[in-house]
Symmetry: C2
Subunit: 307 residues, 2 copies
């Protein structure tokens, strides 16, 4: 079994897209700090309309002004051809399209059916082929939907396979609302892996119910070696204050390294990056690894506790 | 594989022992609320000297004044014969002794070697035999020690086996500082299970580095079906403010139920109990399940977020 895991850091995009007060400078600085950690893939921006997601405005400026490091792919979300063209002009190394496994969620999130959403991606896929730009495909709500509730696993496999057939080099399977548990996550990924090579699958599990790391662990068994996460566990829902966001990259790295797997990521630098953006947003890092190590650093005479 | 899991709720003891401001009334109220959740084993008190742990003072009053429910065992920590006798007089249903797998930790925590600590338990074990009272044995630092660092697995197995031979009906394997990761946790428990029947083993994993639930998942594979946790993730270290405490019972229950396992616990009542004590302590529940469900309840028009 291959013990190298690539982490796709989604903090600057998925992590910050619901932060009302984040500035362009802060977003750029976060990407630059993350570029210093050994990460090789950073989802840096989203070319959705700023009318819908003002926090992600000026994606073109961000992509132009970040300090790029060789060996790192800086990717961006592109919902349509217009977004794609701006992303290309801004020198995104790759782009991502996003579909849902839930009809209800697709309707509410992008105002069309799943089939319609896939049809809308066709021009983006064609343009990307022409530009030889890799396209990543997200499937949201793979383990449950806030509108439709339970999602049938074959539906997830259908959408994932369709995106793969359309030319996405990788399919990121999202537990958008973080409701999944390990056996179910494993069953879903196993079913998708019958239709899409497991080497082309990534996990994108939110930690709303504290299950993300356990869900990842269960799916590592299947051979998945590509995992999305956000530094400091950034993310969360503006409509549910207090609910947590993405799986924290620090906690993921800690587990993977403990399992003897290699990520290439320097945990201390990662904690610095996460702590920096959290200070700017005036919130505590949601990573327990970060909390523990920062607490240790802050206390000169650290003493551990009795069981 | 047996799919019934018994949860040993340690919130009132391990969870509160480091809370500087907790009152006897609050501790009693927490035990009473927990008695309403379907839990069958609540570690309610500690008969250590109030000189050392003032938060756990008046354990006799607590044991006398809680509203006991049939079908629930109310247990207490008893470091020595004096503590044991008071626990018996206070009608504890069972008691617990605590040893360490680390010499350095044993010295700092109870001021004697591991061998000496086991010798000190002998009179407690003899008295418990005479009273026909079950004794639980804790082993701390099974996955690492703040003083000695790495702990050799055979050392853990030695101490666990010794406690079992002395008459402890169950051995609770503690990751006291929460540093373990899944493969290591599984290897440790597998090694102990060669010396002590797996049905007599419990997991007691702290969540300092966010790994506790994943560690539990890995060990369920071995057939362990007894798990310690604390409602609202209570606990943590007074010397490391910000660092988190025990595995949250809510998150554990959510995972186990998602795996199709039965705990007998009502998650909603558990959240009520955890939220109540956290409000009194003026802190947020550390359980992500509790955070998510409370946030949902607080927001009338809840809308989920885009991946």
């Amino acid at each position: 079994m291959n013990d190298n895991v690539e982490i796709i850091e989604v903090g600057p995009r998925d992590g910050l897209q619901n932060e009302p007060a984040v500035t362009l400078e802060q977003r750029i600085e976060l990407v630059n700090l993350l570029s210093d950690t050994g990460l090789t893939h950073i989802e840096a921006a989203s070319f959705v309309s700023p009318k819908w997601v003002p926090q992600m405005a000026d994606a073109d400026l961000l992509m132009q002004r970040i300090e790029r490091r060789s060996g790192i792919r800086y990717s961006a979300l592109t919902p349509n051809l217009k977004g794609f063209e701006t992303a290309v002009a801004s020198q995104a190394d790759e782009v991502a399209v996003f579909g849902a496994a839930s009809e209800g969620f697709s309707q509410r999130n992008i105002n069309c059916s799943i089939a319609e959403s896939l049809a809308r991606f066709e021009p983006v896929m064609a343009a990307a082929r022409a530009q030889k730009l890799p396209v990543r495909g997200y499937v949201s709500c793979t383990l449950g939907c806030p509108i439709d509730g339970e999602i049938e696993i074959p539906k997830v496999a259908d959408v994932a396979e369709r995106l793969y057939q359309m030319g996405c080099y990788e399919i990121s399977l999202g537990d958008t609302v973080g409701v999944g548990t390990p056996a179910k996550a494993k069953a879903m990924v196993a079913a998708v892996a019958e239709r899409v090579p497991v080497s082309a699958l990534a996990l994108h599990f939110h930690d709303t119910y504290g299950q993300a790391l356990a869900n990842v662990l269960a799916c590592l068994d299947l051979g998945v070696r590509r995992i999305d996460s956000a530094v400091a566990g950034l993310g969360g829902c503006p409509y549910a204050p207090g609910a947590s966001g993405n799986l924290a990259t620090e906690d993921l790295v800690y587990m993977l390294h403990g399992l003897g797997m290699d990520t290439g990521v320097d945990l201390e630098r990662l904690i610095i990056a996460g702590n920096h953006i959290c200070q700017q947003l005036n919130k505590a890092p949601q990573s327990k690894v970060a909390q523990a190590i920062l607490a240790k650093q802050h206390k000169q005479q650290h003493k551990e506790c009795v069981s």
